[in-house]
Amino acid sequence: MRSWLLWAPLGLFVIFIGLFASGLFQPDDRQIHSGMLGKALPAFTLPAGASDRPGLSTADLKTGKPRLLNIFASWCVPCAAESPQLVELARQGVTIDGVAIRDAREDVDGFLKRWGNPYGRIGLDARSALQLSLGSSGVPESFVVDGKGIIRYQHIGEIRPEHIAVIRQKLAEAAQ
């Protein structure tokens, strides 16, 4: 064996140590935002998630107008807590599309009947496939998508009353 090759493990190891050392002195910030921010939506086609709303595909989100893409589920308690804010946003004229995660259509119907239906379209993402490709790791989450289908902003967790202004501002920025 060549003698320099015998030193390769040590070289590799030194790189690891450098990596660890740099990680050790990074500031502590644990919220991980999606790597998809600033990128185009992945191509997808989802079947209808509710009986009175059409399903959702990539083309539906490239209409030249910014919109809010809300990831939710009927079994998710914070999603129910978030719905008054979504209904309020819809009342103010924001277009909201929903993606129901690991859900069943009749459960979504019940959820919408109880908490109100702010959604234009609802896609059913039964195996969290779209959710994962969006870089979203939980429910609820909301994405501001501009008219060309580029993801502009990610809101992690439920939208509380104090977040409405931020969301509206991000939508206005996306419209420019």
Partner: protein, 645 residues
């Protein structure tokens, strides 16, 4: 006084480790017999002292001595005694003391029982062991003293992380630690053999029981940890590719590879340099694992107290030991003679393929675990999850299973493809039959990886028994049974994994008491939610009457627990085990209108995953007993021969 006595014992042990190192070094370098004679008794005394220090700490926890800072921070006088006991190692300082104690006792074991190794290699091994211990003594005494006093004493303690207050978890970390430390012993053997340039079959035979023991502990620790995550985290998964889980998996992968290469070295005197390299890699994975867990540089479900100073300390130890060992490897391995060669179709070749696949898998898991760290250093944050790990680990694991089916029925040195094919024909036919059955019965597509997983499980399940065919079962050595059992365990575990991922039925609903949920042949009647109280927690407890088909109705009670100190919520899922699977019910958050978020899963044959893990561990234990028995008989025969001479 108890705390001070413990601390004194620790200092004394550290001083003895220094003596052990110097005596071993000088004794070998200058061939001074007096110094060499000193090493073994010193190692024994050092081991006894660390054991004593650990007992003192345990005593402090059992007595709830709140004048000791560690006890006050991690225990509580109201806590059940089992958790006071487990509290000894359920925290950073205590677990490091446990590490040092096991290391000390292992050194004592090498000093007392190792007989087959050349004297200088034996002494060099003990010297290396002392050097590693010294770093950990320094870490304990300067950066994490478990015996520090609190003045004034606290009125009462601050509890233990409630997620960790669980019988499974009380014994899961020490099991892993035993495994990690066992690998440190293998590392010391490798360093010792490099120092004296005696990398041979005798060295492999001396190292093998420690590798086996460490590997058994890691196997059991990972199995227990996986089951804990399964029922405690409440998401129905049994492996989350969490950094802390990976930190325990990586040493296991390295140890599995080492276990197989060491048997090539012990049996056929081949793969010398590679085995030494693997011993270094295995221990470095233990240290990397400890570093990842203790420094908190990666986000994880395991909430440990994080302290960058401690992280730096472990990192420095890691750099010194592994860097030093790799440098020694580069300098010395050229002097290690090449071992015996072998043919392309032979048991050795199969074991090499096993080693390569395990190493590739280890590398990919390592990259996936550290990738977030790399991108963070470059300025972006990402998390790497199951989609990456499953897609890389799945195919490699399947490849490993194929090798596992073929390897044990291949002859050492040389074999022919034709005769190997004849020996795996029956398992292969069974596998094809399973493939056909699953395709016909599942009536469609269940996902390629689960399908191949079931087929591979059938293949290995039958093939693992092949080494017993045509043998006199009563005269078959115990370690052969051990191998068969461990390989069978792999098949059992894989069958469970594949079945869980292919056939699990999930139902997520918001329901109120009185509702009936039907899923996967089960009727789940949500009867009520009651508040209940435990020793240091309160909980909302769901009551469910469940029945399968028209079977008997049984009550199960999942809980959402609240711990007051520190304020934390945990889920206690309710599991109902049947021979063909588990019903898994979780009570989630409540809604204002009286409905509760419920998560219900039916997981066919999921318990096979951990049963398989247990079988693998049991196989390892049988091998250890078998090897010891043989070594002992050989020694006794030699003793008799000498007395006749």
């Amino acid at each position: 006084m108890i705390a001070e006595t413990g601390l004194a014992a620790l200092w004394l042990a550290a001083a003895l480790a220094a003596l052990q190192l110097v005596a071993a070094w000088a004794g070998i370098a200058r061939a001074e017999t007096d110094l060499v004679r000193l090493v073994r008794p010193v190692a024994v005394t050092q081991g006894l002292l660390t054991g004593f220090a650990f007992l003192m700490l345990m005593l402090l926890f059992l007595r709830s001595d709140m004048s000791v800072a560690l006890v006050a921070q991690n225990s509580h006088s109201m806590k059940p005694w089992l958790y006071k006991f487990a509290g000894t190692w359920g925290n950073h300082e205590g677990s490091m003391l446990l590490w040092v104690m096991v290391m000390g006792l292992a050194g004592m074991g090498i000093a007392l029982f190792e007989r087959s190794l050349a004297r200088d290699t034996h002494i060099a091994t003990l010297g290396a062991q002392a050097l590693i211990s010294l770093g950990f003594y320094a870490f304990l005494l300067f950066a994490s003293n478990p015996f520090a006093r609190l003045d004034p004493a606290a009125a009462d303690g601050q509890g233990l992380n409630p997620l960790l207050q669980d019988p499974g978890l009380a014994f899961h970390p020490p099991t892993l630690y035993l495994g990690y430390v066992g690998l440190s012993v293998a590392f010391s053997f490798a360093v010792g053999a490099l120092v004296t340039r005696q990398v041979d079959a005798a060295f492999a035979r001396a190292m093998r029981p420690w590798v086996l023991g460490a590997w058994v502990m890691l196997t059991l620790g990972i199995t227990a940890g996986s089951y804990w995550a399964y029922y405690e985290l409440g998401w129905g998964g049994w492996w989350f590719w969490d950094p802390v889980e990976n930190a325990s998996l990586m040493p296991w992968l390295a140890a599995t590879a080492l276990l197989h290469s060491v048997s090539v070295l012990a049996t056929r005197d081949g793969l010398r340099a590679w085995t030494v390299m693997l011993a270094v890699v295995a221990f470095s994975m233990s240290m990397v694992g400890t570093f990842l867990v203790r420094s908190g540089i990666l986000t994880s479900v395991h909430a440990f107290a994080v302290d960058p100073r401690r992280g730096s300390f472990i990192l420095i130890l890691l750099a010194l030991y592994i860097g030093g060992a790799l440098a020694l490897f580069a300098l010395r391995v050229g002097a290690v003679r090449e071992g015996n060669r072998f043919e392309a179709v032979s048991r050795e070749a199969m074991l090499v393929i096993n080693n390569l696949l395990l190493s590739v898998l280890l590398g990919l898991v390592l990259i996936g675990t550290l990738y977030p760290l790399l991108t963070e250093a470059l300025g972006t944050k990402v998390s790497v999850g199951p989609p990456y790990f499953n897609s890389v680990a799945g195919p490699i694991a399947l490849g490993l299973m194929v090798v596992l089916a073929i390897g044990p029925v291949t002859r050492w040195r040389r074999d022919t493809l034709r005769s190997v094919a004849r020996r795996v024909a029956v398992p292969a036919l069974v596998a094809v039959a399973v493939l056909a059955t699953v395709l016909a019965w599942a009536g469609g597509w269940i996902g390629i990886l689960p399908l191949l997983g079931l087929v591979a499980a059938a293949l290995v399940g039958v093939a693992s028994l092949a080494p017993l065919w045509g043998r006199n079962l009563r005269r078959t050595p115990l370690f052969t049974y051990g191998m068969v059992l461990a390989h069978l365990g792999c098949a059992v575990s894989l069958a469970g994994m594949a079945s869980e991922s292919a056939f699990s039925v999930e139902k997520l609903v918001a329901a109120r008491p009185g509702d009936v949920i039907r899923t996967a042949g089960w009727t789940v009647r949500f009867t009520s939610v009651q508040p209940v109280a435990g020793p240091n927690w309160t909980a909302m407890e769901g009551r469910f009457d469940v029945s399968q088909g028209t079977g008997k109705v049984q009550e199960i009670r999942p809980q959402a627990r609240f711990f007051a100190e520190p304020p934390t919520n945990t889920t206690e899922s309710a599991l109902l085990t049947r021979w063909n699977g588990q019903l898994y019910v979780v009570l989630g958050d409540s809604l204002d209108d009286g409905r509760w978020q419920l998560r219900i899963w039916w997981k066919p044959f999921v318990t096979l995953i951990w049963a398989g893990g247990g079988l693998i561990g049991l196989g390892g234990v049988l091998s250890i007993i078998g090897r010891w028995g043989r070594g002992w008989r050989r020694l006794r025969r030699r003793g008799q021969a000498e007395s006749y001479a």
